[in-house]
Amino acid sequence: MTTAHAEASKDTFPHEPEKATLEGRNKVLAFWLFLGGEAVLFGTLFATFLALRNQTNEGPSANELFHLPLVAAATFILLVSSLTSVFAIQAMHRNRPALLRNWLLVTVGLGLGFLVLEIYEFTQYVRHEEFGMTTSAFSSAFYTLVGFHGAHVAFGIAWISILIGQLARKGLTVVTAPKVYVSAMYWHFIDVVWVFIFTVVYLLGKVG
């Protein structure tokens, strides 16, 4: 049980720095629990969407609305960002702070790219398809589910950006490592949610 916050030197740097202290282990555990709660949150949103996905109220339907190439591009970008965040964690485990920072920057950049595509998609719908929050029960459910995910992405971008700043100030230590690790867990989680959104919202919208 160590409560030391001393910076680990190069040769004593632990293999899994995120689990080197009780505080770090608590953080990782609690974050797993938190993600369990988040899963219920998105599960409820998905259930709502499935219940209301055909209630178009004479507004546009999913089939008329979605352009799969755009969504596929967004999906690709987001999935790659998950990979780059894995590279970041690997760099962290090998105690290479500069590499860690670079991979985190790439991850943030890809996240921003995804967000830009999503904002573009939404504005297209609102401007050209007259498909807004108030159009139908389907539109409300769509914007709420996809928008919640988008808000999670935006939060993740801000979070990881702050962590990059923190790493620059304090270096990679047993204090900062758990923070990086849980942010990567978070990032994977929102990627997984996106996979479900891609399937349930977009693919199902196109075929059914």
């Binding site: 409560t3 916050h5 009780l22 282990r25 608590n26 555990l29 609690a30 629990l33 938190f34 369990g36 709660g37 988040e38 219920v40 949150l41 409820t44 949103l45 259930a47 709502t48 219940a51 209301l52 209630q55 178009t56 109220n57 929050m133 108030t134 159009t135 139908s136 029960a137 389907f138 539109s139 409300s140 459910a141 914007y143 709420t144 702050i162 962590l163 700043g165 923190q166 100030r169 304090k170 204090v175 923070k179």
Partner: protein
């Protein structure tokens, strides 16, 4: 100031207790006003709108702002002590959870003075709660206030889970944990999986009301039954969030005052887990009459009745614990013993309601009101009374007066049965709930009078309890480590109230009822598991408080974002989401501060530990 910045779980417990007590008082006054309106037929003490607001706020306040914080108070006060920990896993989050709960509660209650309280019932059923039928800001206060308060509960739940998983003292395996720690653990797990559902429900309703979304607007394709599903998939587990901690308290109090170990400890543990699991499977029994069909009704009916099995196991285990024990009827034990038959009655009417065909008859009558008050008041509130009297000396170092405690018990429990027992019959005779008056000569008159008198008596019991607290606080804090003399668990091995660091040395656990085991072996205290050393403590911080204030301001800003104000400046602030933004900036700014400046905490050195020990 000390109280605004504290991260000590024992102080946070006291904050929870006072804040929860305050809201409990408000909810109690609302209940008395309701009962006063129903004292005679065609009473015009309250009008229908006010009555709607009162029943809505009574239910909402009692469940979310009254009993849950008091449960959290006991958990915070006791759990780290029972598992031999120096603090919870995340002291900062613990404080944050309290402040978000408090500001959410304040926001909700501001509705009384800011243009109308919520009036759609505590379940906020759509379409009654949509802007078409509820035109004041009342339901906005409900959705946003509960959202903020719920955040605090979720944070607390995760914190207790992590604490119990990682911070148990050496030797304390899961199957050696005290029952209250077990029920806290399971309760926290239910919170974790139930609260996000209501989070989404409240968001959807907020969007419907403020952004004009159509989740529950039938005309635009929305579905009111969807609200019921989302509400009850949260709402039914919520019942177990409330009652399991009471089960835990009873399981601590009865063995202590029977001088016997809890009968069937492991069956108690598994019954708790089973109840939690089944609690998630039965939500639609609240919706038998919405037309889900006979198959769904039958399945939910059977799964609901199954819960009676583990609950029955618990009831019999408590009885067997007392059987042949040296039972002492102290105040906590009176409440615990009174709990058993009262809660059992609530359980029996639960089985009656679980029968779908019968439910068509009972639905929305006073029979349901009687049933859930037997569960919540006759179960949970009696349990909380037992727990408060039991742990009061540990929390404050002062014994509550036994004499006044017994007065509290007898007035409260007699008043309780007078109030709610007759409501079973009112319901069976067809008196509807949620209606602000009734016609004379339907045989409702006398029983309603009895019920109101009972409610008054419960009020008297509460006042005696408050007097007891007041008188006790004037006495010197001289409670010993183990004031009940038969303490079985770790909290009774350290001074009352405990020092800031709880345990000078982490104890070594050698069995269930760790302290009792040492007593039986002839030892005076616990064997330490570590040498005396310097103890790391987290630093106090104002950030949880400022974060919560930020969320509070953002909530108010969002709620009034579509209003027209007489004042151009106010319109500018609210209609452009500037107030919302200010609130969010305060919150996120505080989060940024937290992230940029590390909290290294401080240490208590061994020299300071000596001499502070008091027995």
């Amino acid at each position: 100031m000390d109280w605004l910045t504290t991260v000590d779980h024992k102080k946070i417990a006291i904050l929870y207790l006072w804040a929860g007590g305050l809201f409990f008082g408000i909810g109690g006054i609302e209940a008395l006003l309701i009962r006063w309106q129903l004292i005679k037929p065609m009473n015009n003490f309250l009008d229908a709108q006010t009555f709607n607001e009162l029943i809505t706020m009574h239910g909402t306040t009692m469940i979310f702002l009254g009993v849950m914080p008091v449960i959290f108070a006991l958990m915070n006060a006791v759990i780290p002590l029972q598992i031999g920990a120096r603090d919870v896993a995340f002291p900062f989050l613990n404080a944050l959870g309290f402040w978000t709960f408090l500001f959410g509660g304040i926001l909700l209650n501001l509705s009384w003075v800011m243009g109308g309280a919520p009036d759609a019932g505590w379940t906020a059923y759509t379409p009654l709660s949509t802007s078409t039928y509820s035109t004041t800001h009342g339901v906005d206060f409900y959705t946003i206030g509960l959202q903020i308060a719920g955040l605090g509960t979720l944070i607390g739940g995760i914190n207790f889970l992590a604490t119990i998983i990682t911070m148990r003292a050496p030797g304390m395996t899961y199957m050696r944990m005290p029952m209250f720690a077990w029920t806290t653990f399971i309760t926290s797990a239910i919170i974790l999986f139930a609260f996000p559902a209501i989070t989404v429900g409240l968001v959807l309703l907020t969007f419907d009301r403020i952004l004009g979304a159509n989740f529950f607007e039938v005309g635009a394709g929305g579905s009111p039954v969807l609200w019921q599903h989302i509400f009850w998939i949260f709402g039914h587990p919520e019942v177990y969030i409330l009652i399991l901690p009471a089960f835990g308290i009873i399981s601590e109090v009865i063995p202590t005052f029977s001088r016997k170990r809890l009968f069937g400890y492991s069956s108690m543990v598994f019954a708790t887990i089973l109840i939690a699991f089944l609690g998630f499977m039965v939500w639609a029994h609240h919706m038998f009459t919405t037309g889900l069909g006979p198959v769904a009704n039958a399945l939910f009916s059977v799964s609901t009745m199954l819960i009676a099995v583990p609950t029955g196991i618990k009831i019999f285990n408590w009885l067997f614990t007392m059987w042949g024990g040296q039972v002492r009827f102290t105040t906590p034990n009176l409440f615990a013993v009174g709990f058993i038959p009262t809660f059992t009655m609530g359980g029996v009417t639960g089985v009656m309601l679980a029968s779908a065909p019968a439910d068509f008859q009972f639905h929305d009558t006073y029979f349901v009101v009687a049933h859930f008050h037997y569960v919540i008041v006759g179960g949970l509130v009696l349990g909380l009374f037992a727990g408060l009297h039991y742990w009061w000396p540990k929390m404050f170092g002062r014994m509550l007066s036994e004499k006044l405690g017994k007065w509290t018990f007898w007035t409260f429990i007699i008043g309780f049965h007078l109030t709610f027992f007759v409501q079973h019959f009112l319901g069976l005779m067809g008196m509807q709930r949620r209606v602000f008056t009734y016609l004379p000569n339907q045989q409702f008159d006398f029983l309603n009078l009895v019920s109101t008198i009972g409610a008054g008596l419960m009020g008297v019991g509460m006042i005696i309890f408050l007097v007891n607290i007041l008188l006790t606080s004037r006495k010197p804090a001289d409670a010993s480590n183990d004031p009940w003399e038969d303490g079985r668990t770790l909290e009774w091995t350290i001074p009352s109230p405990p020092p800031e660091y709880n345990f000078k040395q982490t104890p070594l656990i050698r069995g269930i009822d760790a302290f009792w085991k040492e007593k039986v072996a002839g030892n005076k205290g616990m064997t330490p598991a570590e040498p005396v050393g310097s103890i790391h403590m987290p630093s106090a911080t104002i950030l949880p408080f400022t974060m919560s204030i930020g969320i509070f301001i953002a909530g108010l800003g969002f709620m009034f974002s579509r209003d027209e104000f007489g004042n151009a400046f106010m319109s500018f602030l609210f209609n452009n989401y500037i107030v919302t933004a200010i609130g969010l900036i305060i919150t996120f700014g505080s989060m940024l501060m937290r992230s940029l400046y590390d909290d290294h905490g401080w240490h208590i050195e061994p020299e300071e530990l000596e001499g502070s020990e008091r027995t």
